[in-house]
């Protein structure tokens, strides 16, 4: 009985525990403007409080020539992620995401629709693998499971 009570209480805790972050995404992005972005990385702003991934999306009346698609025009979008520090401690650096890498991103556009900015609700490679996870050499914590991965995370002092 005690176990049952505890279980349900802990379940409740998990359910009500607020997810806190640096800021409110709901104030920044518009729930009525979902976006699906398929494009290539042009730049990574590896900054706090949140990293921003720049991607170019081919579009007939795009704002400028594409960097990675010849003879085409692109719009540039900025996609908001989380703090880079946690990934740095797992050995992932700003060099882990090369310009030209193809990504699929879903999220919501900034409330100011004149801005090509969105939250990176889900950022994956074209085959659906999550960004930074499961890719040789750059993914996941360095647990030794992948022989091609960096032997030590850069954030691991002396380990």
């Amino acid at each position: 009985m005690r176990t049952k009570l505890l279980m349900s209480a802990a379940g409740l805790l998990v359910a009500i525990a607020p997810v806190m972050g640096h800021h409110a995404f709901g104030g920044e992005f518009d729930p009525n403007k979902p976006v699906l972005l398929k494009g290539k990385v042009t730049k990574l702003e590896w900054v706090n409080p949140h990293a921003w991934i720049h991607v170019e999306i081919p579009k007939a009346d795009g704002e400028k020539p594409c960097e990675f698609t010849p003879n085409a025009k692109c719009d540039e979008w900025m996609v908001e992620g989380g703090t880079p520090n946690t990934l740095l401690r797992r050995g992932i650096t700003r060099d882990s995401l090369k310009a030209g890498t193809e990504l699929v991103i879903d999220g919501y556009q900034a409330r100011d629709h004149s801005l090509n900015r969105a939250n990176g609700r889900n950022v994956t490679y074209p085959d659906g693998r999550k960004l930074f996870l499961g890719s040789s050499g750059t993914g996941a914590p360095t647990d030794g499971a992948d022989p091609t991965e960096a032997p030590k995370g850069r954030g691991r002092g002396g380990r």
Partner: protein, 347 residues
């Protein structure tokens, strides 16, 4: 020969017992006080408060089950998605908290602990140990009135739960936005005092000399400088993280903090907030962090919490929060646009 062998066994047994019984001596700095220096990762599944009616301590089996559930969830969230998926639903994805109905960002950015705090061999269900129910005591009438009279309350531990629909005036100028959003202090009282575990970047580094102890918090690169055996600065001087002075009580470092600003407002506190922290060694790799918070103009009684701070070989990185804080601008611009829409509807 036989007696020699027996003597040898006896010697080995005696030595082993002696080693087992005498723990490694507490490392000390040259003045003889314990050396508390190091980097500590206080990420934990243990929340500040626990649900009403639940005990402070879980069994190891219960803790193991919940810890496995957390690990399973992290694994699940790391699985591939459909590369040919569609955009998320119009009207929001129903996510709560800071994810605010738009889904926040992927879980791989998050680092909020894989285990509960273990203290004195106990798996803890809440940071709060006193009051015994593990809840922050009720606010006084004065504190409730203070909170109600404020248009907004950007506190040092704001739960940034804003679905974008907070009272309209909460966006009237940037000074009404939460301290975390403005990069003044980390969210969730990570800067302290008291230091609480948050969603990520839970590293704290202690550097110690005879006269000064520095507590460097990864977020928002806030350094607390504790002056040893000193008096507090005059009451007229107010600081975001208060004014901290320290002394030794035996092998325990006691840090006393007052002189908070009236904008810090830890869980609705006033500028009379008083925090006493006690740092001591549990073992060579772990600190015991205990704090007591009091403010008679805010809570009906003082309250205390306890955390285990395990040392880590991970490095604490710079967190230059203003550097890339596009979010605040985006949020304020969004608010201006919402006002226009609302105004045009009213007309």
């Amino acid at each position: 020969m036989r007696s020699l062998l027996a003597a040898h066994f006896l010697f080995v047994a005696f030595t082993a017992a002696a080693v087992a019984q005498s723990p490694r001596p507490t490392p000390r700095i040259p003045d003889g006080h314990p050396d508390l220096q190091g980097t500590y990762d206080i990420a934990s599944m243990t929340p500040l408060e626990r649900a009403a009616g639940t005990p402070l301590v879980m069994t190891r089996e219960e803790a193991a089950r919940f810890e496995k559930e957390r690990a399973d969830r992290v694994r699940l969230l790391a699985l591939p998605s459909n590369g040919n998926r569609n955009a998320p639903p119009v009207g929001g994805d129903g996510s709560a908290g800071a994810a605010g109905n738009v889904g926040g960002y992927n879980n791989f950015w998050i680092d909020n602990g894989t285990a509960y705090y273990t203290i004195d061999g106990q798996k803890r269900m809440s940071v709060i140990v006193d009051p015994p129910d593990g809840r922050v005591p009720p606010l006084t009438a004065e504190a409730r009135q203070r909170a109600a009279s404020r248009v907004v309350s950007p506190t040092s531990d704001a739960q940034e739960n804003d679905p974008g629909l907070e009272g309209a005036t909460a966006y009237d100028d940037m000074e009404r936005r939460p301290l975390g959003e403005r990069c003044l202090l980390g969210f969730g009282s990570t800067s302290g005092p008291p230091s609480l575990p948050v969603l990520y970047n839970n590293l704290h580094q202690i550097v110690q000399t005879k006269d000064t102890v520095l507590i460097l918090n990864e977020m928002v690169h806030d350094a607390r400088v504790v002056r040893m055996n000193a008096e507090h600065v005059p009451k007229s001087i107010r600081k975001w993280m208060g004014d901290s002075v320290g002394h030794w009580d035996g092998d325990t470092l006691v840090v006393d903090t007052t002189n908070f600003t009236d904008k810090t407002r830890f869980r609705g506190s006033s500028e009379n907030l008083h925090v006493v922290e006690r740092f001591s060694r549990i073992d060579a790799n772990t600190l015991r962090y205990r704090f007591t918070v009091e403010d008679p103009s805010t809570w009906e009684r003082p309250w205390s919490g306890e955390e285990a701070w395990p040392a880590t070989t991970d490095l604490l990185f710079e967190y230059a929060c203003h550097e890339g804080n596009y979010a605040l601008g985006n949020i304020l611009r969004g608010a201006r646009l919402r006002e226009k829409t609302r105004d045009s509807k009213e007309r």
